[in-house]
């Protein structure tokens, strides 16, 4: 075998692939060959590094040099300079936006310093299409241990002791769920992996499946052994083609060497995994709707109980777990429940993966121990707010969650803390907002999403959310009243209390939490007809400040609707009845002579 002295890891996640990382890999390979280095340098396509903000990423080992925003045409230079001559390619190194210094070694980047990677342990480290690399990281050793040395009860006890809670949103204790499914008596049971991932902006589960598919397969087999199931089903949205491909490759490889299929490792245990595709409906992430969708029925939820653990897929006991939940399982078996329980807070153990997005410097995928504060995530790992703006709010929990403010920044993140401050963990979306974001519009955005995604089966969700949306829309149009705010709160609470499934039971949360935390902003809309963040167009007026206007005619010429009039060298004037509030004049004016009021 070739004796590689250097490894070049190229990110092959969906984000980096969209920026031609596949071509980068090909070019690196070609360049390595052209230099006759194929025996000493290995190019590996890995899963997501998490640092999506600056993708595509190429990492060189052993020196941990981290190249960002690499283009295919940079490949030759990287090989010629870094590999052949040993000089870093300066212009591709990462520059810390707050300190404005170049950081070459990924170990020194704030983004990685506070992270603890359990679920993402192999992402950006191994080649996801090579089962040997997974095995070299103790892959399938947990399954071997379970089958060889542990009874199903012992496996379940280990899961219980670890304190692992579901990462799909509910936070239900995983060991307990396994116990319930085990207790259900049936010839046939199923293990289902929920890879629907419907939260807008979330890509935690996709990245795990793309970067480390075997960890999920191994965990499903372990779960099958624990609950007494021989069939695993992964429900994955068809919009995740790369994850689907990698899963297919992984399933094939695992079958080939007998880690899936009949008589696994000679123990008489049978387990195999199949894929089921979803069409990308948010409600199909809800477990009962998911099961119906897999059965070929409409993706609509049904009342619980019966819980899937009792009556699930094809009416058989079914254990549904989220991708990230499962990715933790093999590590817990290998390192022990005690080790896992030593990480995190009192009631939330281990780590959580978050998809950081919004007005933040380091958009990307991160994994931190439970108990890390929002401030650490946003400012230390996320690198703070973009363009030096002021932090305003952070939204966690997606369409079911809430918006938290400055005063919550030092809250240690865990399931219970987030609930107690009026938001929730959810599946791990985290969207950061700055002073330019209008909280009424943010609430409206989420409601628009739930409105689209509501299956329409129950009245409170179907009609109630529509009414909520209409009220919000009215407020952003400047036609709201103070009574509307009370109505929002009352209706929101009714929808929460009376909806059939988790979608409606949580959909008013973005409104209720913004009403709680940003009431003044709502008041400004309904009482003063003013949008403090300057986002609600209907409430804005662009005005020309006569003293500052030089009469250069630039705005006059740029205005798309000819709403600006005036003579050269004398102050211009905006006709409010014609203005469409596009903001072009405001952006173009060189003299700051246009104000938003």
């Amino acid at each position: 075998m070739a004796d590689y002295k250097m490894h070049m890891l190229v990110c092959g996640g969906t984000g980096c692939r969209a920026s031609e990382s596949k071509k980068i890999r090909q070019n690196l390979d070609a360049s390595i060959q052209a230099n006759g280095l194929e025996d000493s340098v290995q190019v590996v396509e890995t899963g997501c590094f998490g640092f999506c903000e600056k993708g595509p990423v190429v990492k060189i080992l052993p020196d941990n040099t981290f190249y960002v925003q690499v283009r295919p045409e940079d490949a030759d230079q990287i090989v010629a300079e870094h590999i052949v001559k040993g000089r870093q390619v300066k212009h591709l190194l990462y520059e810390d936006p707050t300190k404005q210094e170049v950081i070459a070694d990924s170990k020194d980047m704030g983004f990685y310093k506070k992270q603890v990677r359990i679920a993402l342990r192999n992402c950006g480290f191994i080649d996801p299409e090579n089962i040997d690399e997974y095995i070299s990281r103790d892959g399938y050793a947990a399954l071997a241990t379970c089958l060889g040395d542990m009874t199903p009860e012992q496996v379940i006890d280990t899961m219980k002791e670890s304190g692992l809670r579901g990462r799909g949103g509910g936070g239900f204790p995983t060991g307990l769920k396994w116990q319930f499914t085990r207790n259900s008596v049936s010839e046939q049971k199923y293990v289902v992996c929920n890879a629907d991932e419907g939260d807008p902006g979330a890509f935690m589960d996709r990245s795990i499946l793309e970067g480390d598919p075997h960890s999920v397969l191994e965990a499903m087999a372990i779960c099958g052994y624990a609950i007494g199931a021989d069939t695993g089903l992964i429900y994955i949205r068809a919009e995740y083609p790369l994850a689907i491909d990698r899963l297919k490759v992984a399933i094939k490889q695992a079958r080939e060497i007998g880690l899936l299929g009949n008589d696994i490792m000679g123990t008489g245990f049978n387990f195999d995994v199949e894929l089921r595709y979803g069409a990308g409906a948010f409600v199909c992430g809800e477990e009962t709707a998911l099961i119906h969708s897999m059965e070929g029925l409409r993706g609509e939820p049904t009342f619980k109980p019966p819980f899937p653990a009792v009556e699930g897929y094809l009416k058989k006991p079914t254990n549904v777990n989220n991708v990230e939940t499962l990715a933790n399982v093999p590590v817990i078996i290998n390192k022990g429940a005690e080790w896992f329980a030593s990480i995190g807070t009192d009631k939330s153990k281990g780590t959580k993966v978050f998809a950081l997005a919004g007005k933040i410097n380091n958009v990307g995928l991160i994994e931190v121990p439970m108990g890390t504060t929002l401030r650490e995530v946003i400012f230390d790992i996320g690198g703070g707010i973009k363009d030096g703006k002021k932090f305003k709010a952070v939204q966690t929990g997606g369409p079911s969650g809430g918006c938290l403010t400055e005063e919550h920044l030092d809250t240690p993140i865990d399931f219970d803390n987030l609930l107690s401050v009026g938001s929730m963990m959810g599946s791990g979306g985290m969207i950061v907002m700055d002073e330019d974001d209008c909280m009424v519009s943010v609430a409206k955005f989420y409601l628009e999403f739930t409105l689209d995604e509501s299956c329409g089966k129950c009245t409170p969700c179907r009609i109630g959310n529509k009414r909520l949306y209409e009220i919000l829309d009215k407020i952003t149009q400047g036609k709201g009243t103070k009574e509307d705010l009370d109505r929002l709160r009352m209706l929101g609470n009714v929808i929460k209390d009376t909806s059939l499934c988790g979608l409606g039971q949580t959909s008013p949360n973005p409104i209720l939490s913004t009403l709680d935390n940003f009431y003044d902003e709502y008041l400004a809309h309904v009482e003063d007809g003013r949008c403090p963040a300057g986002q609600c167009k209907a409430l804005l007026q662009y005005k020309i400040i006569d003293d500052k206007c030089t009469g250069c005619t630039l705005c006059f010429r740029q205005c798309p609707v000819a709403a600006i009039s005036g003579e050269r060298k004398s102050p211009h004037f905006i006709d409010q009845s014609l203005c469409i509030k596009c903001g072009v004049c405001y952006e173009k004016c060189k003299f700051d002579a246009i104000e938003i009021v």
Partner: protein
């Protein structure tokens, strides 16, 4: 392909890919092993730094010493090229000058394995920014 029948079989696969993965595993935690940085700017390369680097990688491998050998830019000791900086776990970095193959062997045998200093140590005349 042979079926995996036990934990031992998994271990066998693990051992087989070990040599390929070791470099990746080690670079995760360089502070726990011997770290060698070879100055590989133009002057270093011209005086044989590349050969020194290859020799050290092979020798560490050969002797099963857990080490990470990386290249770095000019360290500023052009008069003493090739230069290498060696950091033993928990110790301060030490810079050696004029490290050809023979010297490299001496560094490994005497400094890395026994912790005894040898001739050719260059007094460190700089601090890196992260100190």
């Amino acid at each position: 392909m042979a079926k995996v029948k036990s934990l031992a079989d998994l271990k066998k696969i693990k051992d087989e890919v070990q040599s390929k993965m070791k470099l990746r595993e080690n670079s995760e935690q360089p502070e726990k092993m011997v770290q060698v940085k070879v100055a590989m700017a133009t002057c270093g390369i011209a005086s044989g730094a590349k050969e020194t680097m290859n020799y050290m990688i092979e020798e560490f491998d050969h002797q099963s010493i857990e080490a990470v050998v990386t290249q770095t830019g000019c360290m500023g000791y052009c008069y003493a090229e090739p230069t290498i900086e060696v950091t033993l776990p928990g110790k301060e970095p030490v810079v050696f000058g004029h490290v050809d193959k023979k010297k490299a062997q001496e560094v490994i045998e005497t400094y890395v394995k026994k912790g005894e200093l040898i001739d050719g140590v260059i007094p460190v005349n700089y601090k890196t920014i992260d100190e």
